[in-house]
């Protein structure tokens, strides 16, 4: 059901763990499936993400997207990190089953939440960044029969 890349990131998740003094940390949850993701970012004085770490309570797709997201944002500027959308994460993982698309939103939102925390702490404004939501609503509509 999952691609090889997803399985690889699920079995050997990169960057699992916590961070002592993160530049930003964000926790998001998904009301529908009850899963939770926490993302830690270490951002240097030039606004470059040096490292990202995560902890996730969630399905295989949630773990894999968290892992992939941490890899994708590392080395990017804060502004570039905003472009690591759920679509980008999914593509990097060679896709997800339709029913699991929403899981990748968790990763996107977790990045945004951590960046927001960083922005708040440093009193800066990141172009295009919205305040984090507590609950990720279901974005796709399910087919009705």
């Amino acid at each position: 059901m999952y691609s090889e890349k997803v399985m690889d990131h699920f079995q050997n998740p990169r960057n699992v763990g916590e961070m002592e003094n993160p530049s930003g940390v964000g926790t998001v949850g998904n009301a529908k499936c009850g899963d939770i993701m926490r993302m830690y970012l270490d951002i240097d004085e030039n606004g470059i993400i040096k490292e990202a770490k995560f902890k996730t309570f969630g399905c295989g797709a949630a773990v894999a997207t968290s892992s992939m997201a941490t890899e994708l944002v590392a080395g990017k500027t804060v502004q570039e990190a905003l472009e690591v959308t759920n679509k980008a994460v999914m593509e990097a993982l060679d896709g997800l089953p339709p029913v699991k698309v929403h899981c990748s939103l968790l990763a996107e939102q977790a990045i945004h939440a951590a960046l927001w925390d960083y922005a708040q702490k440093n009193g800066i404004k990141i172009e295009g960044l919205e305040p984090p939501v507590n609950d990720i609503e279901e974005l796709e509509e399910e087919e009705e029969y």
Partner: protein, 387 residues
């Protein structure tokens, strides 16, 4: 070393070789139309009637009260919609429980759209329905009580005989979804006051695509699949003779081995439960400890999520399930676990392991060893653990 341990027997089972053997001639040799005049078709008819006999006597009733269907879901749909329609002049109220299979719950939701009222009874923390609650829910317009014999997720066996007695005291029909319980524990439709009973072949090492509905003699029930005159005009469709013959054989074996299986599986079940409780922290057994299907083990492991657990178990060759079989493609937490009072996050971390009579203690040791590691690994990733 990687083993293969199939512990999803509540979802579906391996067909016994004897069952396949019994079916084979009916594919390529005795394939005539069972409703035909020619002798070749009468052989099929005889095979069907023999199966009806075996099944009737397995639940203490006459052969003629057994009607073949395509499985448990069809039987459930037929029982509920058939009664609803036949008795709508008497009333439009149905009583069921919050922990029924979706084949019951979604059919009830459909009936609600059609103007019926459904009372969904609560269960206690072990998943037991209280006969007292059933009695209280009865209204003058109640036409049907439907309570499952045993729950498919947590294995709890309901007080069917008491509930049946209450139904009959009040002149109300009583249906039980016995898809999980049939041929696993003794059932007597007379003693237990059961008017309608659903069962499915593939849950007892029989074929998929075949099941039956027991209908008490004399009970009016509208047809669900209309058409040809098969099944004494009550269920249309060319008879699935190989399926019926396979079911016959599966029931015969299941009934003959029931006592022995109950003993063996209960012991293994309790062994696995004990090892998990002793060796894995924050593990909660779901379902009643004693009033429980012999083959059902269901735990919640706090701080972790079910699907991740299943994938990791699968990597070790262990097949289990989380939530109900039919909905493990779904994201909703199990309605059964919510009904026994678990909060969402905990309900998400459930694991159901269901035994067959082929499982050995060594295999269960293998399972526990892997499960311990998997739970530990997932907890180390969880933002909820030691937080």
């Amino acid at each position: 070393m990687k083993e293969f341990v199939y512990l999803d027997n509540a979802a579906t089972t391996k067909v016994r070789p004897e069952v396949v053997e019994a079916m084979l001639p009916y594919f390529t040799e005795i394939y005539g139309n069972a409703s035909a005049v020619y002798d070749f078709g009468q052989k099929c008819k005889q095979a069907i009637e023999d199966a009806r006999e075996t099944i009737g006597s397995s639940i203490g009733t006459k052969a003629s009260n057994i009607y073949f269907t395509a499985g448990g879901s069809e039987s459930d749909n037929w029982a509920l919609k058939g009664v609803a329609e036949a008795y709508k002049d008497k009333g439009k109220h149905i009583i069921t429980t919050k922990i029924e299979h979706h084949a019951i719950l979604h059919t009830c939701a459909y009936l609600e759209q059609q103007g019926y009222e459904v009372t969904y009874l609560d269960v206690d923390a072990d998943g037991l329905v209280s006969p007292e609650d059933v009695k209280k829910a009865i209204r003058p317009d109640t036409i049907l009580i439907s309570v499952m014999f045993a729950n498919n997720e947590i294995g709890t066996i309901e007080p069917i005989e008491e509930i049946g007695a209450i139904a009959h005291e009040h002149g109300i029909l009583f249906h039980t979804d016995a898809v999980q319980a049939y041929a696993q524990v003794p059932i007597d439709v007379e003693k237990m006051h059961i008017d309608l009973l659903s069962a499915s072949g593939h849950k007892l090492n029989g074929p998929k695509g075949i099941g039956f509905l027991y209908i008490r003699q004399g009970l009016k029930l509208k047809s669900f699949i209309h058409g040809g005159a098969q099944e004494r005009k009550r269920r249309a469709g060319t008879e699935n003779v190989p399926g019926i013959v396979g079911l016959d054989k599966a029931v015969e074996i299941a009934m003959a081995t029931m006592d022995e299986r109950i003993k063996k599986e209960s012991e293994l079940r309790d062994y696995l439960i004990a090892r998990i409780e002793d060796e894995i922290p924050f593990a909660k057994l779901n379902g009643h400890r004693v009033k429980r299907l012999p083959n059902n083990i269901n735990f919640c492991f706090r701080f972790i999520e079910g699907e991740s657990m299943l994938i990791m178990l699968d990597m070790a060759g262990i097949c289990g399930s989380s939530g109900s079989a039919c909905t493990s493609g779904s994201l909703d937490p199990s309605h059964v676990l919510l009904a026994i009072g678990l909060p969402h996050e905990i309900a998400h971390g459930s694991l159901r392991l269901t035994l067959s009579d082929e499982i050995t203690k060594e295999q269960l040791d293998y399972v526990v060893d892997h499960l311990k590691e998997i739970v530990a690994k997932l907890r180390s990733m969880s933002p909820l653990y030691e937080d």
